[in-house]
Symmetry: C2
């Protein structure tokens, strides 16, 4: 799933200047499934590194959030990665139970379409020019 | 990598109320590697659905951005998914070349650590309580 070429410390993380947050992609380290996207601040990243469990900052509740603290569906974090420009983090995890509050393994369990107008995008079909239709 | 359980149209996407954007996780449909995180608005999602290529909104350049338009490293999008609360999109892609401007396959090629103070998190080590150390 993409090799590690270097190590870097928390000082390299670029938090959003307005919110102090960085988006965190959570991926199942075994299956490769993308499980969820959440947000962390510096303290949440430190708690994750220190405890080995996925911590986030809840934007809705405005509080630190250890994933699974209530449900029991915690995520052991086996590796943290940072992207090239430092503004997105990736947690590679071993999930203890489903990631989604709906009970699905991943929060990304719905396919996004044009709502019946065009259906799912065709595999391998290439159109170089923008579609001129305005409504969907 | 997590099964699809339903379909939903673009009307279900919840864009950030301040920016009109939604984060997009880009994953290699074959290898499972998480390649990058970028942002899209409604029009960028429509262009992606219409053309089968990954379109985004560039926050730095404030313009629509077809990934690979300059480098040639385009991304064919084989599926779009939406998360449970509608505020994050997942593009499953067939990349034509590396995703990262550095030439790496994925932008997430660096491991994030405590910078030598504590090193990478230990695998399988569990600490139930918050680490009380303040500095890193």
């Amino acid at each position: 799933m993409g090799g590690v070429k270097g190590e870097i410390d928390l000082a390299a993380v670029r938090y959003d200047t307005a919110t102090g947050l960085v988006p965190v992609v959570v991926q199942d380290a075994e299956t490769g499934a993308v499980l969820m996207l959440a947000y962390a601040n510096r303290e949440a990243l430190k708690r994750t590194l220190a405890t080995g469990y996925a911590w986030f900052w809840s934007r809705s509740r405005q509080e630190y959030w250890r994933k699974g603290a209530t449900s029991g569906n915690v995520q052991e974090v086996v590796e943290l990665r940072l992207d090239c420009d430092g503004d997105t983090v990736l947690y590679l995890v071993r999930p203890h139970g489903p990631a989604c509050h709906t009970g699905e393994e991943t929060c990304f369990y719905r396919r996004l379409t044009h709502g019946g107008v065009e259906g799912p995008i065709p595999r391998g079909v290439v159109q170089e020019h923008e579609d001129a239709r305005s409504g969907d």
